[in-house]
Symmetry: C2
Subunit: 468 residues, 2 copies
């Protein structure tokens, strides 16, 4: 197993090929912006043959003239200069290079040969390569970053991602939903260090609780299978395969030079190892939210409590379509619920859609009755809190806090569906609700489909673990 710890704690970083014009937002400048914004406290050394200062930092003409060997070097040079650059790294004593430069095995046969040559030169010089054609490492704990929008706060999610853009997208989307990352590695063409190396690293990394993998193609299938099995045994591993379709595979090949592997083989790989496969980055975020904030349900039986008959029906359909079970409540349980309210519009058979839901004290009682019944393993609440009528804000607050307060005394986990509109106003209401719910350990989703998918996969993972 490679010990890659040294990659994540650089005391100095050189950006070779930083444009001298800070307005030029191509590679080198973007890295420089990200590092200065992320609060990186080590030395940053821009390297540019023609500038003496870039963005207030002393610039050096070349790698060799740096005061010492930087711990991490980001290479933004044209591909034609990279062979000499790697030789220089070896001579200077550089141990870690993130090669942003593209135009290698993903592009042409000539590029493939150059990539092979770089790996050979790196091995000779004792240099480890991330990439080429990648963004490298985001590690908020040490301020290492390649994306200026990424959070400075560290958290428990590690991400091995073959695509730089997708890595930033997950960090951004997840960040908006309270998800923080331990280490994110965008590794591109994987010429030297590859998906298995990083997966092995995150498996033993104590700062990482959940591992996400976005992968377009695997360099060494057997080693990857082994690494994935070990990772999934230790932690929740969420897998997105880029290039699941024929055209997608073609796109992946010209993106990172990824080799094709059939969807069926990939599905089998995940089933066999216990990695949880999802189709989109949005589904990744949904599942992380369940895993981070929710106690694992003991089974698949869901009690649905909410507001609105139509929403009850569509939530039920979404849950059952996702493989969850909505058991019909026993006569005793129905009777108990009916004692709270027997008025018209009362459905107490599961889903529970009843006037009680609009009365906070009855809502709290109904939640307790269902949760204590032993007839379900979790509660799914659907509440239309995010309606932008200002008149409703106190009503919203009261109901929200009732759900949160009640949830603390329940023995089973709860999740929330909060439909909302697309306007900033609706989103703002949803954001506040989601924030409060997340703090209280209640994962919160915009749609029942999202909630059901995430919860079902979360349960699938825990059932798999308990069988292991």
């Amino acid at each position: 197993m490679s010990d890659l710890e040294f990659l994540f704690h650089p005391r100095s970083i050189a950006i070779v090929g930083t444009p001298s014009d800070p307005g030029d937002m191509s590679g080198g400048s973007a890295f420089l912006h990200a590092l200065t914004r992320s609060g990186y406290e080590g030395d940053i050394w821009p390297v540019n043959p023609k500038a003496s200062e870039i963005m207030g930092l002393k610039s050096h003409p070349d790698l060799m003239s740096l005061p010492q060997a930087p711990d991490y070097v980001i290479c933004c040079l044209p591909a034609s200069l990279t062979a000499q650059f790697i030789r220089d790294c070896g001579a200077k004593g550089v141990k870690a290079v993130c090669m942003f430069t593209a135009g290698f095995s993903e592009a042409t046969e000539e590029g493939r040969k150059l990539e092979e040559e770089l790996v050979g030169l790196a091995r000779q010089g004792g240099v480890r390569l991330i990439g080429p054609n990648c963004m490298g490492i985001y590690c908020p704990g040490t301020g290492l970053s390649y994306y200026s929008e990424s959070s400075k706060e560290a958290g428990g999610v590690g991400f091995v991602c073959q695509s730089g853009g997708n890595s930033s997208h997950l960090v951004l989307m997840g960040g908006d939903r309270g998800i923080r990352f331990s280490k994110v590695i965008s590794y591109g063409n994987a010429a030297d260090l590859n998906e298995a190396d990083f997966l092995e690293y995150l498996t033993q990394d104590v700062e990482t609780e959940i591992i996400v993998v976005y992968i377009e193609g695997v360099r060494d299938g057997r080693r990857f299978l082994k690494a994935l099995a070990a990772a999934a045994k230790a932690k929740l591993v969420i897998m997105v395969k880029g290039g699941r379709t024929e055209a997608g595979t073609r796109a992946a090949s010209s993106h990172t030079g990824a080799l094709a592997s059939s969807k069926e083989r990939w599905d089998a790989l995940c089933r066999q190892t216990g990695a949880v496969q999802v189709s989109t980055l949005e589904e990744v975020v949904d599942l992380i939210e369940a895993a981070l904030y929710m106690k694992p349900p003991k089974g698949r039986r869901v009690g649905i409590v909410g507001w609105g008959g139509g929403a009850s029906v569509t939530s039920t359909d979404a849950c059952e379509a996702a493989g969850l079970v909505i058991p019909s409540f026993s006569g005793e349980l129905r009777q108990e619920l009916r004692r709270l309210s027997s008025g018209p519009g009362s459905s107490v058979g599961n889903p529970v859609d009843s006037p009680v839901v609009t009365d906070p004290s009855l809502l709290s009682k109904a939640m307790r009755i269902v949760a204590n019944s032993n007839e379900v393993d979790l509660l799914l609440m659907h509440m239309p809190f995010a309606v932008p009528s200002a008149a409703d804000s106190e009503w919203r607050r009261l109901h929200r806090e009732t759900v949160i307060g009640t949830s603390r005394s329940l023995d089973i986990p709860i999740a929330m569906v909060q439909p909302h509109g697309a306007t900033p106003e609706s989103s703002a209401i949803f954001s506040v609700l989601q924030q409060r719910c997340i703090e209280a350990g209640i994962p919160t989703y915009s749609t029942a489909t999202q909630a059901a998918g995430a919860i079902s996969r979360f349960i699938q993972y825990h059932m798999w673990r308990s069988r292991e």
Copy 2:
């Protein structure tokens, strides 16, 4: 065919069972709030035996003491009083009743009998019933409304909806994305007027271009099949079946007393008639957006142009999974694209992911080259415009206007994917972008999965129509 035009143009509305306390937000008050907010200009007559004025409007003690027969009566009385109420309606000369009251066939056997009795009484008295257990009609053209958040603007989407809550949810969600409605009917238990009546009405209604149907169960299968076939022949019909699963069917039964029908039968019904079936209200909005704003593509071949290799791969996967085709570009077309930029990171085979995308003038050229190639039937653009970095706002504007400006001169339609975060800031950026794109006839989606699903269904519909 029932001529239901009279339902949508009431010159006077009575709300029987309006609470005297305007803070009481149960049935009657909610209708009153909605009507006063919606700009309804006819007479509104609250009816309450104990009040002389409610919310500044003269209140009458009972239906019989109203100055004349109201054109539309909303009944919020307890179920036990409804038989006498219907008799009174007949005596007064009321032609249209929306019965909000619940507790009928959806609740108990006794309720089922009472519902039957009401229908008999209504027929005797010459009264047509919507419901019971429903919200009735939203018709912005005449200010008729039951939901205070609904838009005052009218548009081309008609909606026959068995659930009041789901109808409001679609109006709200759609409204946020520029979708306006002609007539929405929440019809509940369908004791008298049913889904077929309303579907027939919307089929011949000149104000309705697109028909959405949310249905939990059908009263008369044969008649509904005929109505659906005629509707789908005339207009795009989008169908959501509530209660597609076993538990969902049970929920539907206690929501609107809906009778079970198998998922397979329902799927066949849609295939046979050409109604486009989707699973969720979110998918309804996505499809409406394509249908309203986009010229119909001539086939399923998509050219993908965008920013980011990973996003190219995931967009391609999403399109192909949804049944779209991402053809590999011809050598000539690749050559033409490569002339714009042959630098590293250039993929020109479809998807097009290339440095050209970051340069507005090259982006415009690339769009034109792909659109004029005859190798694709539509363009799908994916651009990370909604990143909340303030420094990017001018860049965003420039790219957005480039895409919009270029789209006007293309012979094939285009659609846009704009990933964004969940914060109000991200949503605000997305909202502006979406608004501008929609105005320019470019449907805009948050994810490639949404875009691909909507576009594929839109094409499916047009292919079905052209075969008919």
